[in-house]
């Protein structure tokens, strides 16, 4: 495992990872219907990109991501938001396999594309978006990073949500905020707090209700303390 981690670091050195504000390069991909496209073609819409492979059999990994995307696509409504699931296994994930995979998750391909392409191109794009697969294990598939990357309407990286613990509601709210679509007040507050925590050096990836409540309690506690100090009766001197 250590050797794999070292190898991963070494490989990453050759592929610069994109950061917030960077444009995603127009690398050629192929969708589930065999049509050529690139992420740059989707400019004008907010695009949420995530990563999976179709032979992943662990319900806690790719199937969970696909199920969450399925939930999101039904809640998008009229907002200009597109979903892209980019394969981590371009060698085996042909358009036909991606189409079949999408079908068992109810993918509406007008909203949700499943993408593959030339292995070197797909692996480069995965890596540039900060996600690499470390190895192909014999029985359990790939070990790989997880993330959801939100591209704004001009095709720039607006947000990177690490891991796969994000909820469909919260990821959709992030996408809606960049799409200029309304976000409900509570979700907006939680996202703002998560963003503030992230800017202060904390983890902002998981927008938990408990975390938001704890942060709110801390803020109100600090304000109450400041008021109590400011208006406390002063001793006569």
């Amino acid at each position: 495992m250590i050797a794999l981690a070292v190898l991963d670091v070494a490989l990453r050195a050759f592929v610069p990872t994109l950061a917030i504000g960077d444009s995603v390069p127009p690398l050629p991909l192929v969708d589930q219907d065999g049509r050529n496209f690139s992420l740059a073609d989707l400019r004008g819409d907010v695009v949420v990109v995530t990563f999976l492979y179709t032979s992943c059999g662990d319900v806690k990994e790719c199937p969970l991501i696909a199920a969450k995307f399925g939930r999101i696509q039904h809640a998008i409504g009229d907002a200009p938001i597109r979903l892209v699931a980019l394969t981590l296994d371009p060698q085996h994930d042909t358009p036909a396999r991606l189409r079949a995979f999408g079908a068992i998750y109810g993918a509406d391909t007008s909203r949700w594309k499943l993408a593959t392409g030339a292995p070197a191109v797909v692996e480069e794009l995965d890596a540039r978006l900060g996600v690499t697969s470390l190895t192909r294990r014999s029985t359990q598939g790939f070990a790989h990073d997880d993330a959801a990357v939100v591209l704004d309407r001009s095709g720039r990286i607006a947000k990177i949500v690490p891991g796969n613990q994000w909820t469909p509601d919260d990821l959709l709210a992030v996408a809606r905020s960049y799409a200029g679509a309304p976000v409900d007040a509570w979700t907006g507050l939680r996202l703002w707090l998560a963003g503030a925590a992230e800017r202060c050096g904390g983890g902002g990836g998981a927008f938990t209700t408990a975390g938001a409540l704890a942060t709110l309690a801390l803020i109100f506690g600090a304000i109450a303390f400041a008021f109590s100090r400011a208006f406390a009766p002063r001793g006569e001197g």
Binding site: T54, S55, G57, D58, V59, P63, A67, H74, F101, I104
Partner: protein, 153 residues
């Protein structure tokens, strides 16, 4: 050998359901070979609401369907410790029927133990018992899948 199938509606995407079963059955392995589950075998031919429990060694793995594209869960079981109980080999397949609603189908072949007596038993009451057993197993699977889906999504 007799062919049998049974279906059930599940409130989860079919892909999630199949992956859940794959993970669930692998994580129940007491060692590195097979899992064990308890099948409830309804014996309504003998008495209403009468059922026995039978432990089976079960093996499951995600495989490609006959067209090589979609996933199915290949599933086999044999009676744990032997005994006069059918073994089974088949697949669980799934299809989305509506938003976050799927149909899971368990189908395959079971082998009746005990030569002529077994065959006679099967054509009289055994087939009905086998169908009911499959339906109860699918009901158990559905409850597990839906609980996990509600928790994770």
């Amino acid at each position: 050998m007799r062919h049998i199938s049974s279906s059930i509606v599940v409130r989860a995407p079919a892909g999630f359901a199949l992956s859940f079963l794959n993970t669930y059955l692998h994580e129940r392995r007491p060692d590195t070979t097979t899992s064990q589950i308890r099948l409830e075998v309804p014996l309504t031919a003998l008495a209403d609401s009468f059922a026995i429990q039978k432990t089976v060694d079960i093996d499951a793995s995600l495989e490609k369907s006959a067209d090589g594209q979609s996933d199915v869960l290949a599933i086999t079981w044999q009676p744990h410790g032997g005994g006069p109980f059918p073994s089974f080999a088949g697949i669980v397949s799934g299809a989305i029927t509506a938003e976050e609603l799927s149909t899971l189908t368990l189908e395959g072949d079971y082998i009746v133990p005990g030569k002529l007596a077994g065959i006679l038993f099967d054509v009289t009451v055994g087939m009905g018992i086998a169908r009911a057993t499959l339906q109860r197993l699918l009901t158990t699977f559905r409850d597990l899948i839906e609980a996990d889906y509600r928790q994770r999504i």
